[in-house]
Every structure is written in structure tokens, then in C-alpha cells.
Symmetry: C2
Subunit: 205 residues, 2 copies
């Protein structure tokens, strides 16, 4: 039972538009035990974005070379650009004992679990599809087409919940409860026998 | 996601002598979400003990009839007497949405898991065998023979930890951390996909 040598947990959080991922993860990140890793992307930096701070900006060729070399923990292509998590970044966070939060979609989450069976997959949901729809429309910032697209995607993704380890809900005005759920999950997982295979041996040492 | 219909969790806690089970479980029981069930026993009531409060006192014949009828959730024979958990008692606690705490030994814990795969098995340990030994000797209330017997039993039981779901530690003066571990485990288990098989279906309802 050597706390000093404790690695952080790799935590994947997925959630449909309107689940409030940003709020929940933002709140966790205020705690120094939780970290994002800086993603890599082939997208051009936007004004004000800084290489190595917002993203690691790579050319398409560089990104594909890293995929080939197995240097990406996960990646996805979206609107013609690659986005991904460099293994080195992730490993540094975990080795430092911090929990690494990855906010990724269902397909990416599955890929992470395949490569890292020890990853913890959490699906964050609004209380119901009806509430999700109301939230998206309530924002008043998106076109009807965009909203329908997001809802259609939700209908595809939520049924994949069986590939996740946990489901948590972000109720209206209760993001703190979802944050507490994630903290409890991390604390419990740290106590899981599967993560403490030498517990008996260590006990008698 | 109907909280109202939520059943409690069946939580088995095992721990060697000196692990501080009494303190940890006593602290949890101050919270109305956690309950003990009243055990049944064939042991004679001690002065001051009340039937239906301390134990359900049964004759040997009655106890064995209940075992035969499958009415005991778990039971064990110790020093010539039966001790066990009546299923009816346990079911009432769980159906009422409270978490049922069972403090039982390794063999009993395995039996519970066999009959109730949804049970959560937690091993509570002192920080190390050396600390356990120091605690037992420090009590100054037990004979050397008794202490050796308890330590020998620990050497047999702790290696069975692989049959448990979680391991938690009761560090000197930090029983509150062990209590918080159990609370986190219960919260996390409540979010486990395995316990929320209808999550996707319910979401779109």
C-alpha cells in the first residue's frame, strides 16, 4: 500500500450536447488532482491560441506519422482535421499521480478502453432526452438543423452506454452532484481489487 | 432513472481483528441510509439482551429448519452455535432503499456473493500486518494465545482478498477515511452500468 507510487486514473467522459460536460469537467479541473492533457490537432491555430498551451499544432503529415508510430492514445478526424491525445502527455499526467480527464465521443471512448482496459468510462447524461432537447432549444444559439443533428447523434450514442463503466446524470442546477459522482467513482476505483492486485502480499511485507 | 424505486445495496464488510470494523461500521450506521439487519442465533440470550432487538433467538431445530427452507441469506456455525442473517430482514432493509451492512468472515462473504452476485464485498484492513499485531497487543485485553490465533486466522483470510471487490485501509486515527471510502464505493456502485441496465431505454422514455 504505497500511496507515493500511486498512478493517476485515466477517466473518459462522454456526454451528448446539453449534458453540461464543460461545467462538470471545469469544476473537477479546479482540483489539482484532475488534469486535462493538451491535445494535438492539425487544425490551424485560431487568433490568440498558443502552441503547447491550447493545442500542439501539427501538420497532417506529422500527425499521421505519430498515429503510425503508436504515439497517440486516441484520435479522431472531425471536419477534415485530426484531434488526438499524445501518449507522452497522458503518461506524464498519470505518472505524476494526477487523474487524466479525456472528453471524447463514444467511438473514441471504445478505442481508449481497447488500448487501456484500466481506463474508466463514464457517460454523463441530462436527466432525460426531453430535458436535453429543452436545454438545446433554450440556448437559443443554434439553428434548428444543428439541434436536430445533435439529437440524432444522441439517439445513436446513448444506446452504446453498455460499453461504459458508469452512467451519471447532470440534473438542472445540480452539476455539483455529477462532480461528486465522478469523485466517488475515482475514489472507489482506487480501492478496487482489480487495481490492488498485490494487496495481500503488501499487507504482510 | 427513478430514484424512488431504488433498492439499497447489500454490502459485506470483512476485516481481521484489529481492523476497526466496529468503529467504521458504527460511524456509517449513524447515517439512516445504512442499516444492520438483526441476526438470528441459537446462542442463549445474555443478561439484558432482548429478542428481536439484539438477535432473533432460535432453537437449533428452528434455525436448521430455516436453513433448509432457504430462509437464511447467510449463516455460520461458531463455537457450537449458529449465527445468520434472515432473508426477510435483509429484504426489508433493501426494499426500503437502505444499504444493508453485513459484517461477516471470508467464507460467509463468498457464500453471500454466490447467492447475491450484486452484493458488494469490501475487505477492511489495518495499514499492515505489523500494525495489526501492534494494535492487538496494545489492547492488553487478550491472552497471547488468543492474539496468535487471531493473527494466524488473518494469515489465512487476507490472501482470499481476490474474492472481494474492494480493499480499504483503516489507518491509525483515520477511520473517517475508511468510512468515506465505503460511502464512495456505494455512490460509485449506484452509478455502475451493471446496476443501470435500462439507462438508455429510460433516457428516451
Amino acid at each position: 500500500m504505497s500511496d507515493s507510487a500511486k498512478r493517476g486514473l485515466l477517466i473518459v467522459v462522454s456526454g451528448p450536447a446539453g449534458s453540461g460536460k464543460g461545467t462538470v469537467l471545469g469544476s473537477l479541473l479546479e482540483d489539482s488532482e484532475y488534469r486535462y492533457s493538451i491535445s494535438a490537432t492539425t487544425r490551424a491555430p485560431r487568433p490568440g491560441e498558443v502552441d503547447g498551451v491550447n493545442y500542439h499544432y501539427l501538420t497532417r503529415q506529422e500527425f499521421e506519422a505519430r498515429i503510425k508510430a503508436g504515439a497517440m492514445l486516441e484520435y479522431t478526424e472531425y471536419c477534415g482535421n485530426y484531434y488526438g491525445t499524445p501518449k507522452k502527455e497522458a503518461e506524464a499526467v498519470l505518472a505524476g499521480g494526477c487523474n487524466l480527464l479525456l472528453e471524447i465521443e463514444v467511438e473514441g471512448a471504445r478505442n481508449v478502453k481497447r488500448a487501456y482496459p484500466e481506463a474508466v468510462l463514464i457517460m454523463l447524461l441530462p436527466p432525460s432526452f426531453a430535458v436535453q432537447e429543452a436545454r438545446l432549444r433554450g440556448r437559443g444559439t443554434e439553428t434548428e438543423e444543428k439541434i436536430r443533428e445533435r439529437l440524432a447523434r444522441t439517439r445513436e450514442e446513448v444506446p452504446c452506454i453498455g460499453d461504459y463503466d458508469y452512467v451519471i446524470y447532470n440534473r438542472d442546477g445540480r452539476a455539483d452532484e455529477a462532480v461528486a459522482d465522478i469523485r466517488a467513482i475515482v475514489r472507489a476505483e482506487t480501492c478496487a481489487i482489480a487495481r490492488n492486485k498485490n494487496a495481500a502480499e503488501d499487507y504482510f511485507r
